[in-house]
Structure formats: structure tokens, C-alpha cells
Symmetry: C2
Subunit: 384 residues, 2 copies
DNA sequence: CTCCTTTACGAAGGAGCACTTCATTAGTAG
DNA sequence: CTACTAATGAAGTGCTCCTTCGTAAAGGAG
């Protein structure tokens, strides 16, 4: 009896019906009363009562009736996704991205600002503030409209949102990111590991939509991993899950050296482009580049096999910068996994690209709002 | 909105209340009406109605009132755990164990029969049948009383209960165990990997009681692993999770060679006792044995670190034959994990020992009955 | 332009479930 | 034997959902 079942009062039944109505409206956009009644399984009059209650609470609004239908036009209702707004933040080594979205997770505006991994802390924090401010301005909202700000960043995060350790951003280690953001923004603040956010985005609207068990592998100059079990992003007891790349024997941590130090890379190529050059050459058939890719995938396959053997996921999603070259990477990786694993999972490339982490941050904020407001464990509050 | 919420009829409320009442009665043994009402949150009269319904359905029975209380003695009710019975089966290389339990998972009888890994298939199957028959006889039940038989065995299992691959029992690979057991026994038949069952048992009543995120490591001549995420044993998309030992780089598969081929083992020691000898010598302080243990734990720590880094569990449970020597193994393992991992999880030794797998099989059968009968998704049937 | 068909709306009446309240009953303690 | 305690059972109330039926508002045919 895992999910501590609870019965109770009549009012609890109403509560459950209200929540199902909200869920149906959010999932299917504007609905007429009859359509909603059919989806929730309630009778029309009961549905009406539920919707009335949601209207007075401010969670539901009426939309103009659909045109061109036979018979009396039905009133249409939809979830008021604009009763609150969410900000997603991706604090990376080289870019800070922000996105503004409504409660359905529909993105209204995005902004980006380049930084450097060794940008001093105060400058980085100022850049964060600017990026968020311009994103809000672009979307025509103010911070008062924002209910939740979810930030994703590189590094190991504590449950409290402090950065335990971060190799990629020197100034980051030990920094109380959640505390700082809370002082900065008067809304709920969440801090999460960027790979887990990327995995979430792929599971919500990317390559792993509607898949319950996923291994997400961030391939790039820096490696990361995240795991989705039973449809839920696994954070771990100390929110440190996914750090398998820290194990030397997993051969993930510095696998990218094979791509970045390939002999064919022209003198003077900036380090950021080196691996891309090798991958492009491999795609063009260059034998030296192909050999480097083989060595890279040799390494990659070890850690990936470990995850696949341990978890037997339905899908492995390749994300991160190198996943643009998934056409080059996936076939050799598939060949190695086929040999090493019991059941070869589906291998897919990320479909969300660079916006993966911000998008995942938005989805994380959506999940937070859901858990906070749209749960049977607490009464439904009024929407602002 | 992950767990597709459902509201509905008034009858649904009653259904939920009935299920909470069952859950409360199962969790807390005999209860008076008032006590049950307090636990479920319902009023006394409603509780009475619920209990009456459960009595007529046959799920609840009355027990004699408690003695020596002031006031009118309250009638006491309890879950009728004896309306059905469950059989757990552990089909190992060297032993076949069976257990008979009631619907609460309380074990009524256990039997064991030794076999050999290379026992021919038909003899092994005959032994299974005998072990179950004697267990039923010992418990005074017949197979008609049994609702579910859950079998655990070594090897990779398909979702259909066929054995995909098994190194330890040669005759096992490719065998349709579930099909065979279904022909043999006229009840629900489940087949599951033995490490996952052991992990389940530890999580339900062993070293990891009330822990949600667990890595279970079976240490013995054969290695195995299982993972519990969010309180649920993770089976994987193709029910092949936990097979990380198949990866050579995880250094789990033949780690035990360090213990089994230690120089101090006397000539003529049977292979089954060799590792035990080394471990005992190490406990006594023998430097050669201690060095072998160090080498063993060196290997063990690699695969374990991979799992811990990837999943960040709250607890790692050491089970299997060698876990009897956990006092020797845990300290050096802890030292290595402390170096390799971000957050050191709690390391514990199995508390269930050899009966771990049968017990887990029983718990698996209990979970099956729960999911089948005590779920809001289906109406509660009559018992029997 | 009117009438008919179609579809949605709204009100009324009924059933089921849980709640509160209170008189009654069956024990123990003195 | 009486007082006290605690559970029981019956009665009455309120809430939520259901079904049913008359009314309202649109498009389309004549």
C-alpha cells in the first residue's frame, strides 16, 4: 500500500473532482462543459458546479465559443495559465539563459547573455540579474507576476540549493546559489543540476516524451548524466544523483580529450571548436577523425553500459553540445552497447538543443507548482 | 500531474474509505472501531458501515474483545489475512526454498531442498514441485488455498517470465519458467530475479526498512545488484535491471576470485568454503587474508561507486553469502566509497540472511495481491 | 423571414455517503 | 449494589453527485 491512500469527507471527493477537471483542462486546452464532463467522467451538472468553483477561485476562465458549429454554441473554458508566471534559468559556463513561461510551461520570452567560466562571481551574479530582468521585460511581466524561479547550473547541488562542488565554474564551489537568488527575487526559488533539467525537458517535450525509464547522457566538453525512473527525474537522497562521470573507471570524465586533441585539428583552433572540428571531419569520412571518434565512443560506452545494465532503461537520450553530431556518434555507440548490454535500449539524440536546460527549468517550476497547488494533500488555493 | 488523478461518484469515496480501512487494519493488527476511525480519519458511524461492508465481503473478521479494559468492551476487527495464501519460491543453484505465507506476508512454513547447479532440468523441476508440496503440507494448506506463487531465481528474466540467460544454472538459459510453473500450479505465477527479491525483502522487513532509495549488492561467489528507487524495486523496461556485474570494467563479476584463491586456504577445501575461510582468517587478523580482502574490496568498490554516484542512494545494503562477513568487508568498502563518492551513503549488512530471497518472493506476492485487489482502479472483490 | 433541427443550458427532484448528536448498553471499580 | 467508563445504535442533517426535463440559442431548409 505504497501511496498512503486517504479517503475522507464528501468535500474530499469534490476536491478530487476539481483536480481532475484542472488536469483535463490543462491537458486538452479549451473545452466545452460536455467535453470536460466526458473527460472527467462526471455528469454535466456536476462538471458545471466544479467549473463554477474554479472560475470563482480564478483558476479557469471562459474563452469565446467556437465558430461554425451546429446548434447552440457551447461556452468554452480553459485553465488560466496566465494567473502566474515562471522563470527558468540556465547558468552555464559560457552562457546565461533565462526563459519566461506561463503555468502551462508555454514559453513567452527567452534571453541569453554570454559569460566566461572564469567570470568573477559578482559579475556573473550581475549577469544573472540582467538576463532575468530583460527576459521579464521582453515578456511584458514584472517579478511580482512570477511565482517560481527555477535555476539549473553545472555542479553538485545540495538539497538546500548550495553548490557543493563545481569544476567548470571556479567561483561556484561552495556558493549558496539558492540563498542568493532568494534574496534577489521575491518568489519561490529552486536550484537543480543542469543535466537533470535537460533530462526532464527531454522527457516532458523532447526525445523521450511519454517514456518512463530514461538514461540521459550529456556529451560535451564536460560530461553529465541523469536518470528518469518511473517517469520521475531521480534526484537522489542528497540530490547528487547522476555523477557517475566522477568515477575514473567509468571513462566518461575526460573522454572528450580524444576529440579535442585529434591530430587533424588546425593549429590555432579555439578549444571550444576543436571537438566540433573532429566530429565534422569524421562525418566527412576523414579516417584520422573517425579513429578519434572510435576512441571517444570506446570510452563513452563504458559508463553508458554501466548505466544501461544497471537500470535497463527504455531509451538513452544523448544531449549536450556533441549531440549535434549524434549521426556520427550513435551508430558506433549502439554497436558497443549491443555487445556489452543485455537488452539494447532505444538510442536517441536530444531534440531540444541549446534550450534544453532552460526548458527543463521551466518544466521543473511547473512540476513545483503542480505539487504545491494541484495536489490532493492540500486544499486548492485561490489563484492570485 | 503524474498519477492520473480520478474523481467520480460518491461510491468512489466509499471505495477509497474502504481501502484506507483495509490498509489501516493490515498495518496495525486488530483494532476497535474507535481506533480505526481515528486512523482513517472517518467518523465512527461511517467506519462502522465500512467495516460492515468489509465483513460481508469477507476481508475482515472479528476477534475476541481485549480483556481488562474499563468500560464496555469494544469489538475488535482485523484483516482476514487467511482468506488467501501465498507461496514464495527461491530457486537457487544449490538450494530450492519454499515458503508459505498469509496475505499479510506472515510466513507459516518453510522448506528447503538441496540441489546442484548442474542438476538436470527435469530433476530440478521435480525438486521444485516437491519443495512446494511439502511446504504446503507443513502449513496445512493445499494449492487451492494459494492465490499467488512468486518464484525468484538467478539469471536475467524476460517480462514474460522466461529465463533469458543464466550462467550459474546451465540448464536454465532459455527455459520458460513462468510457463512451466503455470502448468504446474493453478494460481497466479510471478517470476522475478533473485537479487531484486532480496532487495525487496530488505526494504520491507530487513536492513533498509522505511528507506526509499536503496542500492542492494549481493556479494557471494556470484555477484548481483538491485535498485530501489522511491520505495519501489526497479525492474527496468525489459526486467533486466541490476545486471551491472556483467560489465567487466565494473570489476564485480569475478571479484570473488581474490577470496577464493587466497594462498592461505588449505589444500582440499571445497570451493564453496574457500572464500569463507579467507574471510574468517581476515577477521582473525591474518595478513595474507587481509590483503586478499583488500584486493576484493578494491574491485567491489568500483562497481559500487558507479551505482552510488549514479543514484545517490540513502543506503547500500550488502547481502548474499559473504555478507555474513560484513564486519570484515564494510570498513574497507566504506573507506573506498568515501574517497570515490560525493556523499557516502549508509552502508548496512543484510539482516535476513539465507531466507532473504524467499521472503522477498512472499513480499512480491503480497505486492501483487495489493495491486490487484486493493487498488482504487478496480472494485474490491469478495474474498475467497 | 419563418420554422425545424441541433446542441447547450439551467432548474428540480432523488439517491448515497458521511457527519453530529444522543439515548442505551455492557462492562469495571469501589 | 452503585457509580463510572467507554462502546454501541438510531435519528436527523448536510453535501455531492446523478437523472430528467423544459428552455435557450445557434445554423440550415423552405
Amino acid at each position: 500500500m505504497a501511496p498512503t491512500l486517504r479517503g475522507g469527507d464528501l468535500s474530499r471527493l469534490r476536491q478530487l473532482n476539481v483536480l481532475t477537471a484542472i488536469a483535463a483542462l490543462r491537458a486538452a486546452g479549451p473545452l466545452t462543459l460536455s467535453a470536460l464532463a466526458e473527460r472527467t467522467g462526471l455528469s454535466r451538472p456536476s462538471t458545471k458546479e466544479v467549473v463554477d468553483e474554479l472560475m470563482t477561485l480564478g483558476w479557469v476562465e471562459e474563452t469565446p465559443p467556437a465558430q461554425g458549429t451546429v446548434g447552440r454554441p457551447a461556452r468554452r473554458y480553459r485553465f488560466r495559465a496566465g494567473s502566474g508566471y515562471l522563470v527558468g534559468l540556465d547558468i552555464g559556463g559560457h552562457n546565461i539563459r533565462a526563459a519566461l513561461a506561463d503555468l502551462n510551461g508555454v514559453i513567452l520570452s527567452e534571453t541569453r547573455q554570454p559569460v566566461e567560466p572564469d567570470t568573477p562571481l559578482d559579475e556573473r551574479l550581475a549577469a544573472i540579474e540582467r538576463t532575468v530582468a530583460s527576459c521579464l521585460a521582453l515578456g511584458g511581466k514584472t517579478i511580482e507576476d512570477v511565482w517560481v524561479l527555477a535555476a539549473g547550473t553545472i555542479g553538485v547541488i545540495t538539497p538546500e540549493g548550495r553548490i557543493l562542488y563545481c569544476a567548470a565554474i571556479p567561483a561556484w564551489t561552495g556558493f549558496d546559489l539558492a540563498g542568493h537568488l532568494r534574496r534577489l527575487f521575491p518568489c519561490d526559488v529552486l536550484v537543480e543540476n543542469d543535466s537533470r533539467l535537460a533530462a526532464r525537458a527531454e522527457a516532458v517535450r523532447g526525445a523521450a516524451r511519454d517514456v518512463d525509464d530514461v538514461v540521459f547522457l550529456h556529451v560535451g566538453r564536460r560530461m553529465g548524466a541523469a536518470v528518469i525512473i518511473d517517469g520521475k527525474v531521480h534526484r537522489g537522497f542528497g540530490t547528487a544523483a547522476g555523477e557517475i562521470a566522477m568515477l575514473p573507471q567509468a571513462r566518461l570524465f575526460d573522454a572528450s580529450r580524444h576529440l579535442q586533441s585529434c591530430a587533424i585539428i588546425p593549429e590555432g583552433t579555439p578549444p571550444a571548436d576543436a571537438a566540433g572540428y573532429t566530429l565534422a571531419a569524421a562525418r566527412a569520412g576523414d579516417p584520422v577523425a573517425l579513429a578519434a571518434v572510435e576512441r571517444y565512443v570506446d570510452d563513452l560506452a563504458v559508463g553508458t553500459s554501466a548505466m544501461v545494465l544497471l537500470l535497463d532503461p527504455q531509451v538513452v537520450v544523448l544531449g549536450g553540445g556533441f549531440s549535434r553530431s549524434a549521426d556520427v556518434l550513435l551508430p558506433p555507440l549502439r554497436a558497443r552497447l549491443e555487445r556489452a548490454c543485455i537488452r539494447l535500449p532505444d538510442l536517441r539524440a536530444s531534440t531540444l538543443g541549446d534550450e534544453c536546460v532552460v526548458t527543463g527549468a521551466i518544466d521543473y517550476a511547473v512540476a513545483h507548482v503542480d505539487a504545491q497547488h494541484f495536489t490532493p494533500d492540500a486544499p486548492l488555493p485561490t489563484a492570485r
